[in-house]
Structures are given as structure tokens and as C-alpha cells.
């Protein structure tokens, strides 16, 4: 590992969200006026300390799975790596740009899939010519066929995420952050996206994968980070071991394990193509 090239260094990272409009007063004009007259700070601003001192290093060619329950700070961590959330304390260092794929992030809802592909490519810095060249392969990869003429808001969740993944994965990203973006895809798409992530790793990129589907993490990732309450519980290359401990801590029992090696004995998702 010493010779490997680091791609992402997270150094004692703290991230704090400021949330407006949290509960508190009754939210009427009168209470707002009283608050201003009384020179009180706005009662409805709350701070959420979502990441509390996280440190790790990810290397070129790593596929890092991030696991943990809802609200444990996985998405926030990915956003901080992408440079979208400024750190409160500590810092995130990256080699190159990061692209974040979230589950609910339609690019431009009221535009057709076709325009989304073109705009996405141009926004990533491709030239017009490159965009034209990539277009058929992106549409083909997404597998949405003739629906490409429809505005994206009429897509099903799965179709939307397929197209978004296809756009973001069309360029070899230095760092690809996948936040549950594959969860809504069907079996065929999972196989394809799995293969594409593998390819991106070969092209010397680093992939972060947030998924509640632990089988997917186990098959895709060579390292795993387990987060709880904004901190890292444990991390390492023993993917299966950490996942098993996570399952046990959540009150479940790992299944499909070989009693001797502790490895998964069979899988429903083909690992490589």
C-alpha cells in the first residue's frame, strides 16, 4: 500500500449543516416579528453536526464501500469529498475532480433525456464533437431506448438513475461517488453498472459506493468504511468481516457464508464480465 498513490485524503473532517425552518415557534408572522423585536437569534436555525472527526485515505484503483444506518453521515461524507459541503474543521484533499451520483438528483427535470445527455456532457467539459461521439453509447448504456425523447420528470425512478449513471460514467472520472444511485436499477442494469465501475477502477479512478445492499458492496468494493453517528466505527480491506460485524451489530445474522473461510459462498450478481 505504501507505493500506492493516494486519491482522496480525509483529515479529521467535521461537517456541520445549518438547517432553517426547524420546529420551534408556531411559524406565524406575529411570532417572527416578536423574535426580531426581542433581538433574539432566529429560533428555527439548528445546527446538525453530521460528520464528527473522520480520517481516512483512499488510493488509486480503490472501490470503497461506505456502510452504516440511515443518517449516519454517509451521504454527507460523499458530498464533502465532492467539494460540495465546506468543512467546518479538518479538510478533504482530492487528486482531480469528483462526480457525485445521488438517487434523487435528476439533472434537469423538465428537459428531455436527450437534452440532459448533451447538457451533462458539455457541463463535464466535453467538446461538442466529443458529445456527439459519446451520445449513442450513453443512450445505449442507459437502455432507456425511445423514452429519450420524453422529459425526465416522466421517467420512472429506475430509468432516471440509469440515465444519470450513464452520463456521469461516460467520462472517465478521477473520483466517482455513487450514493445509492444503483439501488433502483433492475438486474440487467446492475450487471452493466457493476462492470462499468470495475472499468473505471481499471482506468485508475477511485470509486466510493454508498449502498444499503450489502451484497453489492461486498462484490464491488475492495475496502469498506463503516460509519455510525458521524464517525468511523471501523474500516479496512476485510470487507466481508466488517460487513458481518455490521450485520451482527444491527441485530441480524450473515447468511450464505462458508463455515471454514467465512467468505460468501454464492452470489446472484455476476461479479465481472
Amino acid at each position: 500500500m505504501a507505493a500506492a498513490e493516494p486519491m482522496v485524503v480525509v483529515d479529521d473532517l467535521h461537517v456541520v449543516y445549518r438547517v432553517f425552518g426547524a420546529g420551534g415557534d408556531r411559524g406565524t408572522a406575529a411570532t417572527a416579528l416578536l423574535r426580531i423585536l426581542g433581538r433574539k437569534t432566529r429560533g428555527s436555525i439548528r445546527e446538525v453536526h453530521a460528520i464528527r472527526g473522520v480520517s481516512f485515505v483512499a488510493y488509486r484503483g480503490d472501490a470503497v464501500g461506505v456502510i452504516g444506518r440511515n443518517g449516519s453521515g454517509k451521504t454527507t461524507l460523499l458530498r464533502a469529498i465532492a467539494g460540495l459541503l465546506p468543512p467546518e474543521q479538518g479538510n478533504v484533499y482530492t487528486d482531480g475532480d469528483a462526480a457525485l451520483l445521488g438517487v434523487n438528483a435528476a439533472l434537469l427535470d423538465d428537459l428531455t433525456g436527450e437534452r440532459n445527455v448533451v447538457l451533462g456532457c458539455l457541463a463535464m467539459g466535453m467538446t461538442k464533437k466529443e458529445t456527439k461521439e459519446k451520445y449513442p453509447s450513453i443512450v445505449d448504456f442507459s437502455g432507456i431506448g425511445e423514452f429519450v425523447d420524453l422529459p425526465m420528470k416522466h421517467y420512472s425512478t429506475g430509468m432516471g438513475s440509469r440515465l444519470r449513471f450513464a452520463i456521469a460514467a461516460s467520462k472517465s472520472q478521477d473520483i466517482l461517488l455513487v450514493d445509492e444511485a444503483l439501488a433502483t436499477g433492475d438486474a440487467e442494469f446492475r450487471v452493466k453498472s457493476h462492470a462499468r465501475i470495475e472499468e473505471l477502477r481499471q482506468e485508475a479512478g477511485t470509486v466510493f459506493l454508498v449502498a444499503h445492499n450489502l451484497e453489492e458492496v461486498e462484490l464491488t468494493c475492495n475496502r469498506v468504511i463503516w460509519m455510525e453517528r458521524g464517525q468511523i466505527v471501523t474500516q479496512g480491506e476485510d470487507v466481508t468481516g466488517i460487513i458481518d460485524r455490521y450485520i451482527e451489530a444491527s441485530g441480524g445474522t450473515p447468511v450464505d457464508r462458508d463455515p471454514v473461510t467465512g467468505r460468501r459462498v454464492h452470489s446472484r450478481v455476476p461479479a465481472k464480465t
Binding site: H49, V57, N70, A82, L85, P87, L122
Partner: protein
């Protein structure tokens, strides 16, 4: 790090509240401090904004994105309507129609201005360009949050694209305006070509202001609520509906209102397109106290002849109309530099939402 206003991320371990010691969590870290380790390997902070030069270059590289984004948004704006793209032309036509109904047919207001309808519609269209640019850019960051969060590109591309949308609309409005002016009896002259540099200056001004409003609108939610009122006040003090020089206020205030950017671009556009404005502009002819007085009294009466209304040319100009072009350029450059710098300062913050 804990007080009652602060919440921690939820969730806890089933086995108890204790988190494993830092030892296990940092077992794989290099020995040296991480910040040094990162710098040694040429890594850069992810939330760092790029230097200005690099930023401008990457913005120039995204020019096709800006234009494609503007066109796509413009098309999407009317896709739900049955008449579709026709609305791009219908909107300015109906706008002009409303003013014609009220000021041309119902209210016989005479403000001592020859071809009042042409004067009014020119002012409304020019002001509308700036107004729409301000209002649309104030929400561009929140509207495009998914795009901002998914892909890395210079964020200034978004407000720029929104101003381009408004420019496309403005160009169509200009065609409608030309037809209206011809109907109201204005001749086509070489002066019409001056409309191009006026539009150019105004576009640069709008880009600068649009960048500033985009940043303000992205963080201060109260700003987009306040903006319509600010814009309406600006409309009334910029001489869209009347000649600023006829206001009954001290000359220095008249001067300030006359050189405000909206008034400058409106006046320049009027003087490019309306011959009646060029020739009736105060100061256009040598000062003549008697003729000026005639205009100030008789020229404002209902049913005053166009000849009488043109006599405003014999009055003193408060600010020198020859300087308006310099003001126009100065406002555009100032807005662009300040707006760009202001927007760029917060480049790393826009994904926050």
C-alpha cells in the same frame, strides 16, 4: 462541540454507545500528519475555489454548455403550453398590447412626449430585460441544485445561461418593437444600428448583476421575496413611464436618476430607435427660454400638437446626453467586475443548498 442548538448524526450501536477507540479507525493511515501527506502527493483541498484566471478559462471552455443550457431552458419554458414557442413572440406582443390599450386608447395622458406609445413600449421592453435577468438569476442556484451536486463545472455558467435566455427573449422583443415603432410613424434610419451596442452594454451589465443576485439568492432567502419590490421601485425612478427631467425635484436628484444604469440604457435605446426622442431631447437644440416655457406649459396639455411636444429640445439638459455612452460602458464594466468577483468568492459554497 455540544450545545442545545446542535444535533449529532443519529443512530447508535446495538452493542452499546461506545465507539471503538481511534486506534482501529485510523489503523491504515500513514504515519505523517494527513495534511502533509496529502500535499506531498499533490492532492488539493476539494472545497477550494479555483484561481480567477483558471476559473475564467474553464468558463470559456463551457461556452457551448451555456448556450445549449439557455436554448434548452427557453424551449422547456413553453413546452407545456399549447401554443408552445409562439409564446416567445406573443409575450412581448401582449405586453405592448396592454400598454396600447391603457395609454393609447383609455388614458389620454400627455406628458409632453411625442410618440408617447413608442417611448413607453421601448422603455418597458428595455427595462423588462434587466428585470427578468435579475429575477430569474436570483433563483438559478436553488433551481439547479441537482445539477450542481452531480457534476463539477464553474457555477457562473448557470447565471450566465439565464441571462442568455433573457437575451434571446429580448431579441424577439426587439423585432416586435421595430414593428410597433414603424406603425407609430418612426422612420428606419442608420441610428437603428446603435441599438446593437446598447444591447451589448446592457447584456454585460445584466450578466454582472445576475452573478451578484445569483449569489445573494442562493443564501439569503429573504432576498428573492424582496426583489420584486426593489425592481418595481427601480422601474418607477428610471423614467420608463415619463421623462425624468419633468420630475419636480432638485436638479441633483434628477441627475442621479438620469445616470442610473436602467435609465441610461433606456435613454440610449430610445435615442437610437426613435427619431422623435433624438430630436426632442432637452439640449438637442440651442437653449431658448421662451420655447422651453411653451413646451413646459402648452406642450403638456391634452391634445397638444407633436410640434409643441418637440419643443422640449429647447430646454436645458440636466446631464449631458453626450456622456451617456460613457456611463453605459462604465456601468457595464463595473457590474461585470464586481458581480464576477462577488460570485467567484463563494464558488465552493453553492452545492450547500
Amino acid at each position: 462541540m455540544s450545545n442545545d442548538r446542535r444535533l449529532s448524526a443519529p443512530g447508535q450501536l446495538a452493542a452499546g454507545d461506545d465507539l471503538p477507540s481511534a486506534g482501529t479507525a485510523t489503523a491504515e493511515l500513514p504515519d505523517e500528519p494527513l495534511a502533509e501527506f496529502a500535499v506531498q502527493h499533490g492532492l488539493r483541498p476539494s472545497a477550494e475555489r479555483p484561481p480567477v484566471g483558471l476559473y475564467i478559462r474553464s468558463l470559456w471552455q463551457r461556452r457551448h454548455f451555456i448556450m445549449a443550457f439557455a436554448t434548452a431552458r427557453n424551449i422547456a419554458m413553453y413546452t407545456e403550453a399549447r401554443l408552445g414557442q409562439l409564446w416567445q413572440v406573443l409575450t412581448p406582443l401582449l405586453n405592448a398590447g396592454v400598454y396600447f390599450l391603457i395609454f393609447g386608447l383609455l388614458l389620454h395622458i400627455n406628458r409632453g412626449i411625442p410618440n408617447y406609445l413608442g417611448f413607453l413600449v421601448t422603455g418597458v421592453f428595455v427595462f423588462n430585460f434587466t428585470q427578468r435577468a435579475f429575477i430569474s438569476t436570483s433563483t438559478v442556484i436553488t433551481e439547479s441544485l441537482p445539477l450542481i451536486r452531480a457534476l463539477r463545472f464553474p457555477r457562473a455558467a448557470l447565471p450566465l445561461a439565464y441571462v442568455m435566455i433573457e437575451l434571446q427573449q429580448m431579441l424577439l422583443s426587439m423585432v416586435v418593437l421595430a414593428v410597433i415603432l414603424l406603425i407609430t410613424g418612426e422612420p428606419i434610419t442608420w441610428y437603428w444600428l446603435l441599438a446593437i451596442p446598447v444591447l451589448l452594454m446592457q447584456t454585460v451589465f445584466n450578466i454582472g448583476c445576475g452573478l451578484a443576485t445569483a449569489r445573494l439568492g442562493s443564501t439569503v432567502n429573504d432576498f428573492s421575496q424582496l426583489l420584486p419590490f426593489l425592481m418595481r421601485t427601480w422601474l418607477y425612478v428610471s423614467g420608463v413611464l415619463f421623462q425624468i427631467s419633468t420630475l419636480d425635484i432638485a436638479r441633483k436628484y434628477v441627475a442621479i436618476l438620469q445616470i442610473n444604469p436602467a435609465a441610461i440604457y433606456i435613454t440610449l435605446m430610445r435615442e437610437s430607435l426613435l427619431e422623435t426622442q433624438r430630436e426632442s431631447q432637452p439640449g438637442a437644440k440651442p437653449y431658448n427660454a421662451q420655447l422651453c416655457h411653451v413646451w413646459a406649459t402648452l406642450g403638456h396639455r391634452a391634445g397638444a400638437s407633436q410640434q409643441l411636444q418637440m419643443d422640449s429640445a429647447y430646454c436645458h439638459a440636466v446631464t449631458n446626453p453626450a456622456h451617456y455612452w460613457y456611463y453605459g460602458i462604465a456601468w457595464a464594466v463595473l457590474a461585470l467586475v464586481v458581480g464576477f468577483y462577488f460570485f467567484w468568492r463563494a464558488e465552493a459554497q453553492y452545492g450547500r443548498g
